[in-house]
Amino acid sequence: MDPQALLTCLSTASCVITQTTGGLISGMLLFLVAAGLSLIFGTLKVVNFMHGSLYMLGAYFAYTLYTATGNFTIAVVGAALGVGLFGLVFERLFMSRVYNTDVLMQLLVCYGFILILDDAVKIIWGAEFLSMGMPAAFQRPPIMIAGGILPVYYLFLIGVTLGVALLLGLLLTRTRAGKIVRAAAVNPTMTSALGINTALVFGGVFALGGLLAGLSGALAAPVRSMVAGMGFSILIESFIVTVIGGMGSIGGALVGALLIGLVRSFGTIGFPLFTEGVMFLFMTLVLITKPSGLFGKEH
């Protein structure tokens, strides 16, 4: 614990700027994964515990596509679509069978898949960790803004994330598909009575959630080494984010992710050995005072 250092940092502008940008960047990456988790929960009322594994698949797909084609765009788009497709198949074949059972069965199916995918990755890509390397387009010096430093690649990531957040928001509130999704979330029986194919809606939402997880995995690939089991820590973090922000709320996921990013970035200065503890403490407090999360709807 070093509250002195935290105070010193908070009283210098450049430290505040650098740590804030750092925290926002971590938060943005976290949001991409957490958004999918939150979306799936909001509609399907299912906690997708294998969301981290989908993130891992995204990173590995991107690695393979990038190594094969040398084109980063193809790698990212291909990986996101690939994981989305995987999510769809998984939902139709397995997850859809446990919607009507209790949460433990859903947990079990997800955990089974976490184990299977981790081993499958080890068999296909090997036990050694892999690194994709930064695409040439982003290999340039970072930009200086008001004393803070911003790498070009992270600027790109922030752009993509904000774009995704905006698109998701528009999709859910402005389009017919979004209205159906929200209706199905509130009352699936009524929605299907109105002649809407809820199976299609659920499959679609799961695919979209998978796509987001795959996208974040692919975007993380240039800066994070890959290894079987890498989805684990991501799952825990994005889980905390969605619980804090409110399960099912995209806006909440964004706020929650940024909050966690900031807790981590200032925590590393003030209480470096207990940042994870603080995240769980935060989650505990939110659950106690407002169980549905900061932005979740009571139901």
């Binding site: 250092a5 940092c9 450049s14 430290c15 650098t18 740590q19 940008t21 750092g22 925290g23 960047i25 971590s26 990456l29 976290l30 981790d118 081993d119 080890k122 036990a127 050694e128 960790f129 892999l130 690194s131 994709m132 390397g133 930064m134 982003f138 010096p141 970072p142 430093i149 790498p151 070009v152 690649y153 992270y154 993380a220 240039p222 800066v223 994070r224 080494s225 890959m226 290894v227 079987a228 089991g229 890498m230 820590s233 991501i234 990013g261 981590r264 970035s265 925590g267 590393t268 200065i269 470096p272 050995l273 940042t275 994870e276």
Partner: protein, 420 residues
């Protein structure tokens, strides 16, 4: 009761057991196969999850030595057999696996290729069951240095934290003096090894070079995915040099993420775990000029036996060996020499033979490695520092550490800690 008699009785018991359980529809796992011939070496290790590479590269190295020993006729015809078992990185599983290997599979010797937490768990089992055990991967000093933790039949052939710290501080201090690196910072993973390694390094750094100023420390978690907040913290403090004991995938992520911040334009990196082939080859565009300690390099020690060993390993398994590989290979050198000498697998007898033993080894600083009698850990193994280049041999010239100085400072450290 002779060994064979006991075996026979046990086996009858086991057959009964098997019958009873098969009848109830379960296959009981402890049905030992015929256990007359080979000498079984139990290897509790990690074969799954993020550090599977540890177990795989350890087991590979052990297998090479076992094959060699068996091809040379074994121990009076008795062959060695490796039984590696995955603890999945969980200490309680490591303890349980070790017990199973000894009590269930009839292993007479344990080579504990576990990470530190697992090694401490194995140590407690060995304390009770008293078979010979060689720890091959745990570098935590207290495992052998602390008399409360030490066990008469347990040894270590891994490098040791305190040795690393002394060599690192001596080398880094010299570079700091030559290049005028005054302000320092650390960035190490927040778990026992990371904290231990880093605090010892700092202690000796301050002792050898009191003029150096520490301007901060960053503690990412083990296996953290995103190091951004740590990197910005380092950028903020603007140290001239950074010490890190991040390793493997974590080090690679850290390098990749620091790279886009251009961190190493202003800060010289001393990464103790960089010079291991898996890490060196995994980094795309390995930055030149990173200072690192030799973990395993086939060019250091620069002797033909070492190069031949590295090449043979690569020819057989497709990759270069790791730091963990040579540590296991060295364990087998001690073990096979002792087996031939005492002609028995008795834990106490083997321990007596290994205690104080000096063997020829391609990994020795002077061609030999000694198992120091007083604390049952190895000394005299090759250890040194150098700077990286982006292609083979990756670290072209290595400055070896001075064992005389290591031993002096280590003795003093032990006294201070109340270990000696």
């Amino acid at each position: 009761m002779t060994d064979t008699q006991r075996t026979r009785r046990n086996r009858r018991g086991f057959i009964k057991a098997a019958g009873a359980l098969t009848a109830s529809g379960l296959a009981f796992p402890y049905v030992a196969r015929a256990q007359d011939k080979p000498i079984r070496i139990g290897v509790p290790t990690i074969l799954s999850g993020r550090v599977a590479q540890l177990g795989i590269s350890s087991r590979n190295a052990l297998q090479i030595e076992v094959d060699k020993f068996n091809a040379a006729g074994g121990l009076n015809g008795r062959k060695l057999e490796i039984i590696a078992r995955d603890s999945k990185g969980k200490p309680d599983e490591a303890a349980n696996n070790t017990r199973q290997l000894i009590n269930g599979d009839g292993c007479e010797i344990i080579i504990s290729a576990e990470s530190s937490a697992g090694a401490f768990a194995v140590q407690e089992v060995i304390r009770e069951l008293k078979v010979l055990c060689i720890h091959t991967n745990s570098e935590t000093s207290s495992l052998s240095a602390d008399p409360k933790i030490r066990v008469p039949t347990a040894f270590r052939t891994a490098r040791q934290g305190i040795h690393d710290a002394i060599v690192s501080a001596a080398y880094a201090g010299n570079v700091a003096k030559a290049k005028g690196l005054k302000t320092w910072m650390t960035c190490s993973p927040d778990y026992a090894y990371g904290r231990d390694n880093t605090s010892l390094f700092l202690e000796y750094m301050k002792r050898f070079h009191p003029e150096i100023e520490m301007v901060g420390e960053a503690w990412p978690k083990l296996f953290q995915a995103d190091y951004t907040e740590n990197i910005t913290k380092i950028l903020q403090a603007k140290p001239q040099a950074l010490y890190s004991c991040l390793w493997a995938g974590d080090l690679v992520s850290f390098l990749d993420q620091s790279g886009i911040y251009n961190l190493f334009a202003q800060t010289t990196l001393f990464a103790i775990n960089m010079a291991d082939y898996t890490t060196l080859t995994a980094v795309k565009n390995l930055p030149a000029g990173i200072h690192s300690s030799s973990r395993y390099l086939k060019t250091f020690p620069a002797v033909p036996e070492n190069a031949a060993w590295g090449d043979a390993y690569k020819a057989k398994f497709g990759d270069y060996p790791t730091n963990w590989s040579w540590e296991n290979s060295l364990a087998m050198t001690f073990l096979t020499t002792a087996l031939r000498k005492v002609n028995s697998t008795d834990g106490a007898k083997l321990a007596d033979a290994i205690r104080g033993m000096k063997v020829k080894s391609p990994f020795g600083a002077d061609g030999t490695v000694t198992m120091r009698a007083e604390d049952q850990t190895t000394i005299g193994y090759a250890i040194g520092w150098g700077t990286t280049i982006s292609k083979e041999p990756y670290v072209p010239s290595v400055t070896p550490g001075d064992w005389k100085s290591i031993l002096e400072h280590e003795a003093e450290w032990k006294k201070k800690m109340g270990f000696a």
